[in-house]
Amino acid sequence: MSSGPLTRIGSWAARWLSQLGALARFSFGGARAAALLPRAGRAVVFRVTLNQIRFTAVHAMGLVVLLSGILSFLVISQAVRELGQIGATGLIGTLMVIAIVRELGPLITALAIVGRSGTAIAAELATNAVMGEARALEGMGIDPRQYLVLPRFIGAVASVFSLLVLFDVVAITAGFAAARLNGMTGTRYAEIVLQSLSAHDVWLTVGKALAFGLILGIVPSYFGLSVRRAATEVPIAVSRATVSSIVGVFLCSALFVLLG
């Protein structure tokens, strides 16, 4: 048997596609399980979802404000100085909207959530699996995806969306402060930023929140629940979940650019 580079690439691609297929099956199975939830089960899922949002969104607000504020302040300060020398301060609006609101904002928010909550979700579900809790749920006739995955998925989508909006608001406000400190009037800053913002950006934020939320809710859950009985599998699952989520977020971001 040949084990040349083509064979290796082929087997890597096959593994990757197989994993993607398993993730898709996991997601569709979860969606089907969600549709079968009884009323009392929905109340439990709602409660767990609120808890997930508290952990993923509310507790991460400080971090997102800090990252967004510093990033926007630095970029706009530098831009006002440099672009001011060539009389192109009008491009600051484009820079703010395209670079920060459209691209960096969602990416940095998603990375912050992967680091804080993606790892936590993967570790928690992997522990559930190792402790036999996921198996006990199945033994009782409960689909683990109903109780363990669904609230985390809904929580992730809602959290990514809320944090993206927060990131954008803070970025625009910090940019305003940076522009003022570097000699630009507030009216001029508001005018050029508002000119560059469009309804397309709002839809893009919604689309990215959904796509990133899907990745950040499903991928860590999938890797967490793939653990069997050994505690040594937990860090491996967390590591795989983190890397796969980051790769997923970047690929998805590239896809959004390609689709225009």
Partner: protein
């Protein structure tokens, strides 16, 4: 009469050893004991269809659970009470919420009806003072009581208990077994019960209709108490 639970020719301890076969009759309490290498710890998973045996078959109420499609499999398991080894209680829920969980996800009952049923079960397993604690805050006996209450939440006619009395006193074990039996009928216990584990307290063995020891060779020997 058909057996509520029947294992047929399972290669439990490897194909080189004798296959395992056992049928439980209605209202019987049967214990199968054996060391870890005997494969006795796999019986519960095979019975519930959580794992598929490499050979032979397992029938629960004449149905092979593992062969059913997922939604039917999950629904069918609600007809069987299951207490897994190590309790399997969810650590982020109170004992009371753990007991309520199968009812919340597996029935169309209202929250009020479920709360009422759970309150009755909490009293039945004598868990009133600890019901609002989480598993990590409760002792082993309280966790086991909660796990048993959860297993009988749907009032199943068949119970599978894995190592249910490990680490408990003989008195607590006997008390829990009575809860599991669910009362008495002219033919024996109200429920059919399979207990698996390594050892059982003598007082519990006396309440079983049959106690088997699964040897490493794969043979099933009837124990005398």
């Amino acid at each position: 009469m058909t057996a509520p639970l029947a294992f047929e020719d399972l290669p439990l301890a490897g194909r080189s050893r004798a296959p395992f076969s056992l049928a439980l009759a209605d209202h019987q309490t049967v214990a199968v004991l054996g060391d870890e290498e005997s494969g006795v710890d796999r019986l519960g998973g095979y019975a519930l269809g959580l794992e598929s045996p490499p050979g032979g078959r397992v029938r629960v109420f004449e149905t092979s659970i593992a062969d059913l499609p997922l939604p039917e499999r999950l629904a069918f398991r609600r007809r069987v009470g299951y207490l897994p080894a190590g309790d399997g209680l969810l650590q982020n829920l109170s004992l009371r919420d753990n007991i309520a969980l199968p009812l919340r996800f597996g029935s169309d009952a209202s929250t009020r009806e479920i709360d009422g049923r759970v309150a009755v079960m909490v009293v039945a397993v004598r868990l009133e003072s600890a019901a609002d604690r989480r598993p990590a805050q409760a002792n082993e006996e309280e966790c086991r009581r909660a796990a048993l209450a959860r297993a009988v939440a749907f009032d199943p006619m068949l119970l599978v208990l894995e190592q249910p009395f490990d680490g408990l006193t003989a008195r607590a074990s006997a008390e829990l077994l009575e809860v599991a039996r669910g009362g008495e009928t002219a033919d024996g216990a109200r429920r059919t019960i399979l207990i698996t584990g390594q050892e059982l307290p003598t007082v519990v063995q006396r309440r079983c209709d049959r106690v088997y020891r699964l040897t490493r060779a794969g043979t099933l020997e009837l124990e005398t108490v």
